[in-house]
Symmetry: C2
Subunit: 354 residues, 2 copies
């Protein structure tokens, strides 16, 4: 029983402007270490017992060459690079992944993971995935619930129910992003964990649940894969079929409806979705390096492109990002609002700075 | 009686890093308008009644070509460009200027001005200089006292004494940079003004007072000018003679000692020495332009090189300067400490960023 990583890397990440942009979104940048976040995600499984060594990559067609180059840099050969003509959210990705695995490697389990997350304790993460494999083999789609470290209002929460096997339980309920009071109650109760958007499943189960709850997504995604245009390492999903796939999340399309939802929780692997510069600052060795100059400063995070020097004098709690001709200055407690800069650039027609 | 502008432009200006640097100090940058501060200083006298239209420029030899190019850009022909092999402070400049004018144009008055100051009401300034001309003709070295707008501790102060002619009075005393309490008392008394380092004098008087109070400065400066190497528009002061000039200010060498010191005060011409980014922000139309992006910000000043975009999210009272690969972020109330960045760069050996 081998676990096959399926790595999703089609997202945009506008809150990490100016480094993250449409031409090269955040997962393809060296935000946390000297490797890109995508490369770190791929390398997490390299040499890991029980994991297939040739990951399946699913992304946007625009990033095919970038993916091939970044994989070559780290010496990893993909099982397949499946390229979408446009983003249709994660239900479509789950359907394509399940269909691909069922056709090619039906005995494996699929592990659907985002390419733009940080995991500080990878061994803990890998052990959790292995521990969840029996439940997945038994027909559960198993998610992973991150042990909450604060009453965060930016994540969905998973409520664990009846125990199935060790730390794996049935899902009692998925909860949408809560208000601050509810988030505090979730944190206090101990029964809730953050939904990290990681899914372990047998292809058979995922296909069956998609067939039951999202048949149109399954049909059109399967058609897009069957009609894919194969060019070297790349499989370009058929544009006409894929355009007809309803765009929704796998959480909404399947997980909130199926009786086969399970959760491994609490997973305490120093996980972060590095969704804002503040979060990058928390986990990045690079952003906290002394390559910049600080005079009478405290609690600042600097991320500068190679060859750029940032000097801070008498400031506190700032995030400063320099990426060539684009410079961002914000506060740590406001970095989730950086997406507004991208909106403003678009509305002003300043495409060169996107 | 013509007034001959003598423009000093040899200074460095490290507090305006990263724009100001040794290779191109602040006066040669477009800080306030689309022209350089030096060009604005030169143009202040263009077409002005009573002023010679070919200024004398005194600077460091390193800036000769820059000066010639910036003068050509604005169509101004200098009477002379006198180049020092090294900076020897303002007493040497006054001696060289007086000697040059006495030899070439002895009937004119000399007006010694810095090239890196902003004047918001140039007509007021020019009228004040004209009003001070009779006293200068009568043998006074006339300074200009800026009407204080705040109890600033960063300037020397001039105390006015007996009235000579209109707003021109004898100087009762020069006061060094005061502490806060003293500065407040100066502001309240109304008898004190800021020493802006502007001097109007007949060459004859300046030479006589230098001969009386700083004979060595006069002798060596004169020798450096007499032995100057003439190359096209440039007169390179003799290095050996000039190196022997004691380095001190004209205030200390002459003004605090002579009985011929006068002051025109109060001069209310919206003067600023733009000595810090905070001051640049106060007077610059450029730094307050909407070429950058602000979301939920207040009271910020941005100065970015052409082609660079700065975005601010949720910050207040900041100064952000982007100059290619060098980025500064500071607070308005800390911008006088930016010189520390230059020291730190030197101590770390990061010459590329100076």
């Amino acid at each position: 029983m081998t676990i096959h990583p399926v790595i999703m890397c089609g997202g945009a990440g506008t809150r990490l402007w100016p480094v993250s942009n449409l031409a090269r979104p955040k997962q393809f940048h060296a935000l946390v270490s000297d490797k890109s976040v995508f490369q770190e995600t791929v390398l997490r499984f390299t040499g890991a017992e029980g994991f297939h060594q040739n990951p399946v990559i699913i992304s946007n067609a625009a990033y095919g060459n970038l993916i091939a180059r970044q994989l070559a840099e780290i010496g990893v050969v993909p099982a397949a690079i499946l390229l979408e003509p446009e983003g249709r959210n994660t239900a479509a990705v789950a359907a394509v992944a399940a269909r691909y695995l069922a056709d090619a490697l039906p005995e494996n389990l699929g592990l659907l993971v985002a390419s733009d997350h940080f995991i500080g304790r990878p061994d803990t993460f890998l052990a959790a995935v292995r521990a969840a494999a029996p439940a997945a083999r038994d027909g559960f789609i198993t998610t992973f619930g991150i042990a909450p470290s604060r009453p965060d209002t930016g994540f969905g929460y998973i409520q664990a129910g009846e125990t199935l096997d060790g730390q794996v339980a049935r899902v009692a309920a998925f909860r949408e992003k809560p208000d601050a009071e509810t988030a505090a109650a979730y944190l206090a109760s101990g029964a809730y964990s953050w939904n990290a958007g990681i899914f372990l499943f047998s292809p058979e189960t995922m296909l069956a649940e998609l067939a039951a709850y999202a048949p149109n997504i399954l049909a059109k995604s399967s058609e897009a894969l069957e009609r894919a245009y194969l060019d070297g390492a790349f499989r370009y999903l058929d544009a006409a079929a894929f355009a007809a796939v309803p765009s929704t999340s796998v959480d909404y399309a399947v997980m909130e409806r199926t009786r086969r939802a399970a959760v491994y929780a609490p997973l305490d692997c120093a996980w972060s979705d590095i969704g804002s510069w503040s979060m990058v600052g928390e986990v990045s060795s690079r952003a906290n390096s002394p390559a910049h100059i600080e005079i009478d400063c405290a609690g600042c995070t600097v991320h500068a492109a190679d060859g750029q020097l940032v000097a801070l004098v008498g400031v506190e709690g700032l995030i400063v990002v320099a990426d060539g001709n684009r410079i961002l200055v914000t506060r740590k407690d406001r970095s989730q609002d950086v997406g507004g800069v991208v909106k403003e650039l678009k509305s002003r027609g300043l495409k060169d700075f996107l």
